[in-house]
Every structure is written in C-alpha cells, then in structure tokens.
Symmetry: C2
Subunit: 299 residues, 2 copies
C-alpha cells in the first residue's frame, strides 16, 4: 500500500468556470496525484477540490494550484456567502495511508512556507499544524474575513506563521493545516421544529459538553418540512459515527421526536462505516483485511 | 473496473504439503489471476484455494489445477472427515464485478465440459449452474460420497452432466457450479446449552421456514463454554447479514438468552457490511462510490 495524503483546498471562485478549470488543471498535470472531485457553489462563490497522492506530489499540486489562484482571483472584488479570507482560502492535508498526522503537519509547514515566501501571501497554520491553541480552529482564524484582516493582522496574536506581516491585497491570507478525514453526517428528525434540532446540536457537540470530535448545528430542510442535526465528525476514529448517531437518538427522545434517517455527505473513509457495522453486529475480532475488495485491490 | 470472477476450488488433500503447493502453483502461474488465499485442514484432509481474475484466466487456472489434482491425488486411498466425491471435489465460480451470474454459469459449463472430456472425470453442475432442481444442492450431490458414487452414478437421475458415465477410480467425480459470494457469519449466545443454538438454527434457516438464503446449525464453543448459531448466507444481497442477526436475536429472546457477539469467518464482500452500516444508521441515498478508498483505488 502506497503512502497517500489527501488535500482539499478551497478557492474563492465558484462562478467563473474557466478560472476554476485552470486552477484544477494545476492539480491534474502533477504526476502521482489523482483528482478525486471538484465542485463549485455559486452562492458561496467558492470551489472545493479534492485530490490524493504521494506526499511529494501532493505538496507540488497544492502549491501550484494556490499560485494559479493568486494569479486569477482578486479578493478585492470577491463576494460570496461563505466566510473566506483569501483567494486560496484554506488548504488541509489529511493522512490516508502509511502516513502519520505528524507527516501531514510537516507537509503543511513546508507548503505554508513556500506560499508565504514565494507568493508573498500571509499564511496561518491551523488544526494539528497550529502553532498556538487559539489558531487551531479554522472559524477563529477566519473571523472578520478578508475585509477584517487588514486590522486583525496587526495584532501580535495574529502575526502570520509565514510570509509578510501585511495582507496581500489581491490574494488575502491563506490558512494551511493538517487534520483527520472529516465525515459530514446529518441526522434527520421527524419534526419541523428547528428549535429541537438546535437544542440537540448544542448538547451533542464538543463546545456544548458533548462528544469531543463533533461539531453540530440545527438545519431546516424546508422542502421535506423536517429539520436535521448537521454534524462534522472531525476524528471518526475517536468519535465514531454510530456514537454520534445514538447520542442524537437519545436526545431526540426527550422531545418525543423520532430519528427518521441520516445522510453522509461526500466521501467517507471505509473504516468509519466498518466500525458501525462492527458495533451493531457485535462482531468480534474483525479485520479490514477480511474485506474481499481490499484483498483483491491491495489497498 | 475490470471483469472479475472468483473461484474457490476444494481439493481432497490437506496433509501432503508438496501436493498442495503443486496444485496451487497451477493457479499462481496463470497471468490475470490473483491468488487470494489457500488453507489446508489435516482432519478434513482437504484444501481450499481462493483466487480471482478475468473470466478467461480463471477458467484456465481452475482447469489446470483440477488437472494437476487428478494426477497427484488418488481417491482410492483418501480418508478425511469432510464429505467429498473427488480429487477436485468442488469448483464454484462467483461473480465479483462487471460479471453476471449467467456469465459464471457459462464459465462453469465450459470448465465442466473440459474436465469431463479432457480428464475423463464425471462432472455434475450445481447451484445456479444445475441442470435439474435435485442437483442444485451440493450436499445432495455429495450424498454417499466417493465410495457411494460407483452405484449412485448408475441411476438415471444421477447421470453426469459431462464426462464418462462411470466413476473415475483415481479422481472420483467433480462438482462444478456458479453461486453468489458466501458469507460465513456466526452469532454467539450467552449460554452453553447446545439445544438452544440448535433450536434457533432450525427456525432461522431456509429449510425450517426461516430466511430464504440462510443455512444454519448449532455449534458448541467448548473453550469459551458458549454455543453459537453458525450460518452460511448464500445470497447476502437478498438475505442481508443484519436481517439474519436480528432474527437470531428475536429467537434468542424466547429463551431469555443474550446475543453476546458475532464473527465473520474469512472474506466478506464490502457491500455485505456496508448494507449493515446503512441499515443501522438509517442512511438515506448512500452510494458505495462515496467510500474514499473505492474512489482512490477505482474498484
């Protein structure tokens, strides 16, 4: 099994297809990298690109895409609903196989340093690569957004980790880091009362005293006339999907509301779902090597 | 994704390592085939070989291994606890990807015909390849074993599908067929009363009025001082693992006995466990394409 790192950069352009394609081309043309997915959101005016590859190739592709974005995107005219601080807004590196989190932290530092020095863009390291606890959380770094950073960057606690100590007017600032694979998992409730979804979200999430690696909000699904608890599981090995699911069920009982379904958004690591099958079937001594496809395709 | 067929031939030799290796070598040396596993049981005096590959390559490897077994194994001196009818006892072909069950039935017929004509061994087609309902079940074909076949083969209803109408004294007869991937799934009960395991097995299995694609027996695990319901799920798409599991739980309640665990023996198709994760988490609209590894390794 090869060394594999995943990278999911977010760019502040979701409307101009040509610009998006030219950025994605920078990923496509690096050997040793496989483009898994990319999608643009017009309201957010933002694109998310997902690719995977060997550490060296992924570093190269991430830097080149960021460089291209700095040429083609102008933050001075960018508008969109999603919070953002730069042309390349955030670049997370994720360990997939035969690679440790520490390896990904190193990769984040190297790429961050290059972006700072070669592209003249202030860089903040976040999550596992953070150089200080107040920089761990992406939302905290992004607070104030591009527009607010011209002041924020002057504060000593927001001195960039790499690059100039002034905002790059055209490209803004970029956040680079290392994190675990994220599982986007939503639980649908048999009610249209958003207060119930919000209340459940508040107690199952980490900041509310809930599970260590769960972020959660209540969301209305107006078309279906129901609400959901929308969660990000930021470490599925330590906070398993089934545990979050069962805890939402437990809390929903307080309101006499049934859990009517769930959804997984985007990609999910095999192990995250296998852990659930193992838990519910009470399987003893299961190994992922027992999966036929893993044996055949040697991953 | 390539066309893939799995083949799991069983040979009547489990003690002489050299003989087993020479048979397995016939699989190893065919290009387009991947040997997944092989294991021998001394008490059964029997070996099971598992390989996968393109339809053409798998046909070639199965025939060559059967030919080698007909040269190296002599049924006239074979003794072992497991029921058996020939040097190559049974050859099932299993559709894995981009291949239909009907394709595997064709493969079974072709390989069966070659074994009959070129090796002069009577061949019976079984399961999905059977030419008559009374030949579907492997146990029915094997009844009487090698020794009994000298008489059995004379009955009109046991005329072989291919090959001579007399038993090959050295090689016996061979059963060839097509079937779905088999999942070996055992549920452990919190009791040492074998009658309870037997009673549950009897009602959850197909012949007792239970689930269509479940075979089951009660088994004692003496070391752990418990019993288990040992099941073969012969079509995991139509009788899901979770359904068999939940039905055993339902029946165990009658005896006030808890289900304390389960085990999956050997290889299991990814989808069989994903179906369980989907069921218990109530996931809506899940696609196997959302599995990160599937995307990366393109299987």
């Amino acid at each position: 099994m090869p060394k594999l790192v995943e990278c999911i950069p977010n760019f502040s352009e979701g409307r101009n297809k040509e610009v998006v394609e030219r950025i994605v081309d920078e990923v496509r043309r690096v050997e040793g990298v496989k483009l898994l997915d990319y999608s643009s959101d017009k309201d957010h005016n933002r694109s998310v690109v997902t690719f995977v590859g060997t550490p060296e190739a992924v570093k190269e592709a991430a830097f080149n895409a960021c460089k291209k974005a700095s040429e083609l995107i102008d933050m001075r005219v960018h508008k969109g609903e999603h919070p953002r601080v730069g042309a390349t807004d955030v670049i997370p590196f994720v360990p997939i196989s035969e690679v440790t989190m520490q390896d990904c932290v190193e990769i984040a530092r190297e790429v961050g340093k290059r972006i700072g020095e070669e592209l003249n863009i202030p860089v903040y390291l976040y999550e596992e690569a953070a150089t200080s606890p107040h920089r761990q959380n992406l939302a905290d770094i992004r607070k104030g957004q591009y527009e607010g950073f011209f002041e924020k960057i002057k504060k000593p606690e927001w001195k960039p980790d790499f690059g100039p100590s002034e905002v790059n007017e055209k490209s803004g600032v970029t956040v680079v880091g290392a994190r675990f694979p994220l599982v986007a998992f939503n639980v649908n409730l048999g009610t249209n009362d958003i207060n119930i979804a919000n209340n459940i979200a508040k107690v199952v999430r980490h900041i509310g005293g809930g599970l260590r690696y769960v972020k959660a909000i209540g969301v209305e699904l107006k078309e279906r006339n129901i609400v959901q608890v929308s969660m990000n599981l930021v470490n599925y090995e330590k906070t398993a999907i089934y545990r979050a699911f069962e805890l939402v069920k437990v809390e929903a009982k307080r309101y006499g509301v049934p859990v009517i379904g769930s959804e997984i958004i985007g990609l999910v690591p095999l192990k995250a779902l296998m852990d659930c099958a193992e838990y519910y079937l009470q399987i003893e001594n299961f190994s992922l090597d027992q999966i036929l496809e893993k044996k055949i395709f040697e991953f």
